[in-house]
Amino acid sequence: MFETALTDLWYGFGVALEPHNVMWCFIGVFAGNMVGVLPGMGALATISILLPLTFGIKPVGAILMLAGVFYGSQYGGAICSILLNLPCHPPHAVTCLDGFPLTKKGRGGAALGITVISSFVGASWGITEMIFLAPILVEVALKFGPAEICSLMLLGLLAGSTLARGSPLKGVAMTLCGLLIGIVGSDIETGTPRFTFGIPNLFDGVEIVALALGLFGIAEFMKSVNQLSEVDTKYTNIKFKDLRPTRDEFRRAVPAMFRGTIIGSLCALIPGTGPTIASFISYAAEKKFSKTPELFGTGMIEGVACPEASTHSSVQGDFIPTMSLGIPGDAVMALILGALMIQGIVPGPQLISEHPDIFWGLIASFWIGNIILVVLNVPMIGLWVKLLTIPYKFLYPSALFFVAIGVYSTNNDMFQVGETVLIGIIGYLLLLLDFHPAPVLLGFVLGPRFEENFRRAMLISRGDIWVFVKHPISAVFIGLCVLLIVMQIYVRLRAPKALPMDMPLGTDAKIPEAAE
């Protein structure tokens, strides 16, 4: 197994090192990093906006670029949170706690330097995990019948909607809405148009680009307009030589980094617990480990190293279920999977054997991309820091143009631009009602396959709904679903105020919430 993994990896590097693939990876990382640094642009908004640009590229290049955009924007977001105290991506809310005090002490550069190293360590571990775990998962998953796939999807959907932030009930409601939006269009088996209101443009269903840009573009702009005050740039004068941590800082950061990496990779294994939860748990754990927990929040380098390492290790880990089972853990993964589907690639356990170039190329490109990130960020930090001063009032109009033309260029259809505006308005109303729209995307991407497998399972079992409990593997997944629900109810009833998940919400108060 070890040997085949290495041969496959070797092959992957061959794919990823083809000049045009390196170029797409570089463009993705660069664009992601650039947009991610901009205050007020989260990772989801960044990927949604750049998604239409990838449609003209071959599948391998497109996926390498999108993945690059994702971790590039993650990294860019870290710069923004450490230097400006503006976490545009939820996992960074924790990085702010100690990152910004460090900046105030004049050690912001060192915090950034440690972030670069931690991200790289965390990501490398996550990638290694992916190399060895994904093929095993695939081997198991290939034996799954429709009933098993169905229950597994149910588990994924439930975990993705209840473990995200906000009320779990509302998360479930959003997932259901996403599943329903996924139904719009012609029925796969009979061809009956469903919920199309007689509009022919809707027969092919709602476009994922329109949905993502409406929810994470237009709705977010409506929420943030005139809300982001002028950023305070007095600490942002960071140069290359400032990045070097002192020997003492380095000595304290290294063990924290490794602890964060382990916690992050464990979190990635539990479906639904993405980077946000990983970063919060690791910060709490680091505080426990520390001999001076009372100093956390005043600028401890461990408080930056640990969550950053765990975020990146869990981000890479999140790719495991996405690529090997076709079940995304959060909205970002749903978008990447959606992009694959637009390219005509069917996600699921057969992906690795049918498109080894995509899978192994992606893994190899993670390393290449992370090295590009280090190369881009260390010497050019001054440039990125300059981007922080671009005010939001110039950003969102430009972004709106990218939204409009991006949606248009997907199918050369103006109708979809209108669709995006409408989804944007609905998305904003949902935000006002305290719904977080990220699970919508999860439901939307999984919806059609969920229905298909559900129908097939029913057909095979001749309408016996208990088939999901009768098959042992499926029963385990259903059991986990029930456990998840019971756990949520128990936690809510026991301590409605002191939820660990509410900690991020507390810190969110001063944050202009960009998309999750």
């Binding site: 009930l169 109009p397 305290d434 409605p496």
Partner: protein, 156 residues
């Protein structure tokens, strides 16, 4: 109790979901339902609609039992009518102008009008921004990505 209830955000959140679920469930009855073995196009949406109605009622239910917090304004404290209007006007102008006059005017309007939504925006500043985005946008989308969209045209 009811007087308090109508002030709560979750009351509306739950009601919206309940109504939406009901509407979906009722509408999916108009499609063929089929049997569990051979499910028609209406069966799956019906199931989702019923579940959503149920979840919506649960959300309303939790609103009943949580005390009223003082942060229950549904609309934000500052109503950004100008901002909201300008942001929505941007893509709509993009559709109209793009359909009849081409990419360049559409792009300009799509950046210029939303830019005015910011309270500190000036006509001159917005125009400069719009011109800049138009220039680079056209360069990127027409010359690099080559999307089939004429830069100028008259009539659709």
């Amino acid at each position: 109790m009811f007087g308090q209830l109508v002030k709560k955000r979750d009351f509306y959140a739950g009601s919206v979901m309940t109504l939406f679920g009901l509407a979906v469930a009722l509408d999916s009855m108009t499609y063929t339902l089929g049997t569990l073995t051979h499910m028609g196009p209406g069966m799956f949406p019906l199931m989702l609609g019923i579940t959503l109605t149920f979840v919506g009622m649960l959300i309303t239910g939790t609103a009943l039992f949580t005390p009223l917090s003082n942060n229950e304004n549904i609309l934000p404290r500052q109503k950004e009518w100008r901002g909201w209007f300008c942001i929505l006007a941007g893509p709509i102008l993009f559709i109209v102008l793009g359909e009849f006059f081409g990419l360049v005017p559409a792009t300009f309007a799509c950046v210029f009008v939303p830019a005015l939504g910011d309270r500190t925006a000036t006509l001159k500043g917005s125009a400069i921004l719009a011109a800049g985005v138009t220039f680079f946008g056209v360069l990127l989308f027409v010359y690099v990505l080559k999307i089939p969209f004429p830069m100028f045209r008259l009539g659709s």
